[in-house]
């Protein structure tokens, strides 16, 4: 007897698409064609002149000339490419190209929109990118805090509260003892709230989402109470120094990249380092492996002698410290003083960045940058005087987040044990 295989096992490429897949591909195709039509019919008509994007300040060592884009031609080219991508998607189905096509398509549409809005005018592209990075910092750090705790399967709704606690502590201690002390204290207090979250959910088995919501309420109450009871009377307790930008020699002189990446303050570099370190930690080290095991299959980790509870405590506390650092950005890295509720929901957006970034530090950073971009974009558009009401421009980052999450990410997979309490036998 021999092991016979039927000749011509159907190769993967010819496999008929599942209806859902085919539909997804078609929807993506239609969306792209829709964008093409939008660009062609709404942006292109009556477009005149060129859009000027300033890349350098006159004071920069290597000044680049302005980037001048002929608006009408650009719009037509963009529409053409979009139509091509859409048609391809529609006819051939997508498979793994769907995401890429959609990504390119969205980027093109945004570029076309930007050129349309800027036609005949000018703005500083470098400034916009710099703002993108700056505004991404607290979101990226919030997202990273989310990654660290959800990788050990503790859902962290409390990021917002941890950011706020960090901001408050940074302002208070920073005012009294100076910036560095403020920073250390902010990290410590963030860590303390992380520890509290861990204690509530690990030791006292409180529902993870309730625990997070409650910590947010608690921190909001405590900081608002303290600031109205204390800061109002003692102003000098709410006047912290701000960490100034540090120009990295040579690199900071690069055109565009220099100001965007290498002329930033401690928090930007800190966020970059933390993302890099935690990526290394989670995916290349022994303790990272153990942490991920705890998030995926805590019982397995337990049977191998890994202390699930301790691992959760440690990582959620670390997450709190990262969020505390991110919170300090609001005060020590930006405006030097605390104001009630000043994090303004950035922690929740960080949570979104974490999911959008697929529970990966780099993903969370990328998502935060998308958000920061949409944010700085709307500010530029408001300056350029587009006919769009300012309220709608202000929605841009949120709408962008929804579109990206719906269109590009879809059903991302969280760590298998995420949100589930682990009960030792």
């Amino acid at each position: 007897m021999s092991i016979a295989r039927e000749p011509g096992l159907a190769p993967v490429a010819e496999a008929p698409l599942l209806p859902a897949q085919a539909r997804g591909a078609r929807v993506a195709g239609m969306a792209l064609i829709g964008l093409a039509v939008l660009v062609a019919l709404v942006f292109a008509p009556g477009l005149e002149g060129a859009a000027t994007f300033r890349l350098s300040r006159p004071t920069d060592p290597w000044a680049l000339p302005d980037l001048v884009v002929p608006a009408l031609s650009f719009a037509w080219v963009a529409a053409g490419v979009l139509a091509f991508l859409g048609a391809r998607q529609f006819l051939r189905g997508g498979g793994r190209w769907t995401g890429l096509s959609l990504g390119i398509g969205l980027a093109l549409a945004v570029a076309a929109f930007l050129v349309w809005a800027t036609a005949g005018k000018a703005f500083s592209l470098t400034g916009m990118l710099q703002a993108t990075v700056v505004r991404a910092v607290p979101i990226a750090l919030g997202g990273l805090a989310g990654v660290l705790s959800e990788r050990v399967a503790v859902v962290n709704i409390a990021i917002e509260g941890m950011l706020l606690a960090g901001a408050f502590t940074g302002a208070l201690i920073g005012s009294v003892l100076g910036g560095w002390s403020g920073l250390v204290a902010a990290v410590a207090v963030g860590g303390a709230f992380g520890f509290l979250l861990a204690a509530l959910v690990v030791t006292y088995r409180m529902d993870q989402i309730i625990a997070g919501v409650v910590i947010n309420l608690l921190v909001l109450g405590l900081t608002s109470y303290a600031s109205s009871q204390v800061f109002q009377e003692y102003r000098h307790l709410n006047n912290a120094p701000v960490f100034r930008p540090i120009a990295i020699p040579l690199l900071s002189d690069l055109p565009v990249l220099g100001p965007v990446l290498f002329r930033q303050n401690l928090f930007v570099y800190g966020a970059a380092v933390m993302v890099a370190v935690s990526t290394w930690y989670l995916f290349h080290t022994r303790h990272g492996l153990r942490a991920r095991a705890v998030g995926e299959h805590p019982r397995a980790a337990d049977t191998l002698g890994i202390d699930v509870y301790r691992t959760r405590y440690v990582h959620v506390t670390m997450a709190g410290m990262v969020a505390g650092f991110g919170g300090a950005w609001f005060t020590l890295g930006s405006v030097g003083r605390f104001d009630e509720g000043m994090t303004g929901g950035r922690g929740y957006i960080g949570l979104a960045a974490m999911i959008f970034g697929r529970w990966h530090p780099v993903g969370a950073l990328a998502a935060a940058l998308v958000f920061g971009f949409a944010d700085s974009l709307q500010q530029k558009l408001a300056l350029l005087g587009t006919p769009i009401p300012s309220e709608f421009l202000a929605m841009a980052p949120y709408v962008a987040t929804i579109i990206v999450v719906a269109g590009l990410v879809g059903r991302a997979r969280p760590p298998a044990a995420d949100g589930k309490p682990y009960v030792k036998e």
Binding site: S124, A131, S227, S334, V335, Q379, A382, L383, P389, S390
Partner: protein
């Protein structure tokens, strides 16, 4: 005599009108010997309840702050005709006999500030942004813009004002009154586009802009404050404020309390103008020497013009 204040949701320490009005009460406490207290509103649903809890004789005058309390104040005033009320930033038409509205011709002061800024800019570009696109905010932006344009017309300059287009009535708005970080980011945005003087019209948000100016240095960026003289209410950053567009709510509030004590209280409207000192620009403080004498003289002339009506700041 007891004066009671109800804040809007901004809270008593908003570095803006609630705080300025409270300063008026405090001045009255110090100067007139009255006692005063305040109630903070957490949410709009609190307004009515807060006013109600002050009724019943414990307060001789109730001062409500902000146009958002307009409805609640009216309802309470009509239900309690013997209680004296005064509301900041709001006027009733027709007037209510027991409510005195306090409103301000802010654009007059903003006009001066616009002219000053146009005279001071090195880059030929000014920036302005607001909290939300609503008239109490945009009136500053309008006045500022017209003041700068007046400078252009008078002196042949080509100063640009970024962030507000008085024709389309669209511009740069943070859409909130509490994110200090937005204040910084929006000022940075304007600075990137060349502005070296920025007017943030968004309450405490402007403190974030001041932090940026502090960091960049006042050669690169100066800030114009709103509502109060920010060199006094934000002493830590006093050096970044070129001037402030003041709504002297403290003065009008104190005057209203005085009237209540004298028995001269009467319902209606008082309007703060340049003429009666209800609005003005603040002294230049740190920039006293930097502002050329010639410019100071021109500002004085414009002030006169506004008072006697030869210069119209309105649209």
């Amino acid at each position: 005599f007891t004066a009671c204040q109800v804040t809007d949701t901004g809270g008593i320490d908003d570095n803006s009108f609630n705080q300025t009005a409270w300063k008026g009460v405090q001045d009255a406490m110090a100067g007139l010997g009255v006692s005063g207290r305040f109630l903070e509103s957490q949410a709009e649903t609190d307004y009515e309840a807060n006013i109600n809890s002050l009724l019943g004789g414990s307060c001789d005058i109730i001062i409500t702050v902000g146009f958002l309390l307009g409805d609640a104040t009216k309802a309470a005033a009509e239900a309690n005709p013997d209680q004296e009320f005064s509301i900041v930033d709001y006027a009733y038409d027709p007037p209510i006999p027991n409510v005195l509205g306090q409103v301000y011709a802010t654009d007059q002061a903003a006009f001066l500030a616009g002219y000053l800024a146009a005279g001071m800019t090195q880059t030929g570009t000014l920036g302005v942004f607001g909290g939300i696109n609503i008239p109490p905010v945009t009136i500053f932006m309008d006045g500022f813009h017209r003041g700068a344009m007046y400078h252009n017309a008078q002196k042949g300059t080509e100063v640009m004002v970024l962030g507000w287009n008085p024709d389309t009535r669209e511009g740069l708005f943070t859409n909130n009154f509490d994110s200090l970080d937005d204040g910084r980011a929006f000022a940075q945005n304007l600075y990137d586009e060349g502005a070296d003087i920025v007017l943030p019209v968004a309450g405490p948000v402007g403190l974030g802009s001041a932090a940026l100016a502090d960091e960049l240095g006042t050669d690169a960026l100066k800030i114009i404050g709103v509502d109060a003289d920010l060199t006094l209410t934000d002493p830590e950053k006093a050096h970044v404020y070129l001037t402030s567009i003041m709504k002297r709510m403290d003065a009008t509030v104190k005057a209203v309390i005085q009237a209540g004590m004298d028995g001269s209280f009467e319902g209606g409207v008082i309007t703060g103008t340049i003429g009666n000192g209800g609005v003005d620009i603040a002294p230049f403080h740190a920039f006293e020497d930097a502002v050329p004498a010639e410019l100071k003289a021109e500002l004085e002339a414009i002030r006169q013009g506004i008072v006697d009506g030869t210069i119209r700041v309105g649209g």
